[in-house]
Symmetry: C2
């Protein structure tokens, strides 16, 4: 049997070709700008009329992600299609994949849209995760808590981000109650990892199997939202290499094409646990815009366009800090503190990522 | 008497504001992308339907640069207006300046649109230029050649770029004949400078008078078109400082706001001669995108938007090479040789700048 997806190797998309991007947020915006630098056009598809990425390309479609007629028109315009976030309906990706190459493919999306599927996939690769149990009833939640025997986190299997769809629970009763607040949505209960710090590895795999990983930053979160990525962080050289090898294993198992991010817990004993896989460019990779010859955004475009991957080496140390909610009001001060990026969002709502600043230092 | 232009200080343009750019070529394109990074929108005005900069913003107007109704609409959309090339009709700039702030202003444009006016302006500042004479008749051309007494270059006073409107002449007769091929357009005859190398200094002046200059690259031309900018080049530290001081003198005399470039001849005896002033971002400053925290494009946007200037310091050595005409066919090879920029032009005509590549090296 021929695996069609694997066989469908794309000739490199020539300058002037059109990259389709599902999702018009800041990731789509920065992808679009990276594509433009390479002489490629982008068409942005977004389910709201206003989108940060609409400001950087004249080719734009505002429609529901399930509107088949619009998806068809989108596919007609584009030479290759990608997405900026993993909550695009899988059925839409499947439909588009029948019309034009979608990179990364359906498998990467379906394996990572559901936390339970994702964690099982990671386990099967022999990589470590936090202990977890499937929870489809309040009773399941109680039992799982008893098995984990300590503080735990109930997470909806699908559609969670930035701490949404998560609840920390300290008793079996609390776990059962949390399940009910999620209105019966399928969940997992995850054992609490007493980690030393969090980190991530952002890496790319080309169509020809070439692999390129950026140095893994250390990540700090506040209120479940990334606050700061620092590279180098506390990871040892050996841990960095291990993290890159983990990302490679995951990318290869998914026959992945494009950039992906693997979020990690670094335990006090030095072990690396996979927390989450993001089948896309990632907030913890924004520092690569200034600190690397080829940013994560350009790298993703190169990979999905069938171009040679760029050099992921870091020419400087970097600290990237998000600008969240009303912090954006201090944009003038921020403009003096480093390389400022603002995403063109109209309203600074609490918890909304409005921009980021990257500060470079000489490489240590 | 109040100088209105000097008094009209702009409050900083807030994120979400609109920068108007006259001219939709690669400079407008890279200005637009730099503005987007800062959360500013751009509206591009171009006199042809297709333009590189139209690919990176949805706000675009295609109309003649003298169409008053369109210029008025453009001014209405924009918070501040700039231009990517100096051959915009001065009357249009004057008209726009009555509606919205134009940065840099009319004075910078009129002083630099005409080679004779420009060279006199430079001389009056006490800066050196090649010897030159005004030529408005064939007889003038002969006389001027006799005075210069050696090989010389006849240049039309207006609308020249990339060697267009220039002729090297080796006799008084040739000078007179060249004048006639330019159909009686006012010219200057310029003495040939036996320079050691060419260089340029790209610098910015803010609304508040703040000044920031990039390190001056050494520039190599082929067929009158910039081939390569190298930084550091052969300029000594003292010459670099002198070049920056010259740019500052020029910027201050023009009460300039924005980025300007001063092209220089470096004579064998070490003297720096002003060749040309470009009241805009410049091809010899493209390397700043990768080698500096704040590129010339971002710097120009910051200056004209009334933002604090960014840091012009160079964190790496750099070589920028233009991709000219059919050289763009080798885009795949170029994509592996450094940071590739392609401008989205449809046809690779001879002499047309299609893109550039910047290679970084550790700072020496």
């Amino acid at each position: 049997m021929i695996n069609l997806d694997k066989a469908a190797h794309l000739a490199p998309i020539r300058p002037g070709g059109v990259i389709g991007i599902l999702g018009g947020g800041q990731l789509g915006r920065m992808l679009s700008m990276a594509a433009a630098r390479l002489g490629l056009k982008t068409c942005v598809y977004n389910d709201e009329n206003h989108a940060p990425a609409f400001q950087v390309t004249p080719l734009q479609l505002a429609a529901s992600y399930t509107d088949r007629a619009m998806l068809q028109g989108f596919a007609q315009i584009c030479d290759v299609i990608t997405f900026e976030f993993e909550n695009i309906p899988a059925e839409s990706i499947e439909y588009l994949a029948g019309l034009k190459p979608v990179r990364p493919g359906l498998e990467a999306l379906t394996k990572t849209q559901d936390r339970f599927t994702e964690k099982n996939f990671v386990k099967e690769l022999g990589l470590a995760t936090a202990p977890f149990f499937d929870v489809t009833s309040a009773e399941d939640a109680r039992k799982a808590f008893a098995q984990l025997g300590g503080p735990a986190i109930l997470k909806t299997r699908r559609l969670g981000y930035d701490g949404k769809g998560q609840a920390k629970v300290a008793s079996a009763d609390a776990a059962a109650k949390a399940f009910e607040t999620f209105k019966g949505a399928p969940c997992i209960l995850e054992g609490f990892v007493d980690f030393s710090f969090e980190a991530s590895v952002v890496a790319a795999r080309g169509q020809n199997g070439a692999f390129a990983a950026y140095d893994p930053p250390e990540n700090e979160h506040e209120n479940h939202i990334l606050r700061r990525s620092t590279v180098p962080g506390r990871m040892s050289k050996a841990q960095s290499e291990e993290a890159k090898a983990m990302a490679r294993k995951i990318a290869e198992a998914l026959d992945y094409v494009g950039v992906l991010a693997v979020e990690l817990f670094v335990r006090k004993d030095g072990a690396l646990l996979v927390n989450e896989i993001a089948p896309r460019v990632h907030n913890s990779g924004h520092w690569t815009i200034e600190a690397c010859a080829c940013s994560q955004f350009e790298q993703h475009i190169r990979a999905i366009a069938g171009w040679p991957l760029g050099d992921p080496n870091r020419h400087a140390d970097a600290v990237m800090e998000n600008i969240i909610g009303a912090e954006v009001d201090a944009w003038e001060t921020r403009a003096q503190s480093g390389a400022l990026h603002l995403y063109g969002k109209r309203q600074p709502r609490p918890g909304r990522k409005m921009g980021h600043v990257t500060r470079l230092k000489s490489k240590t």
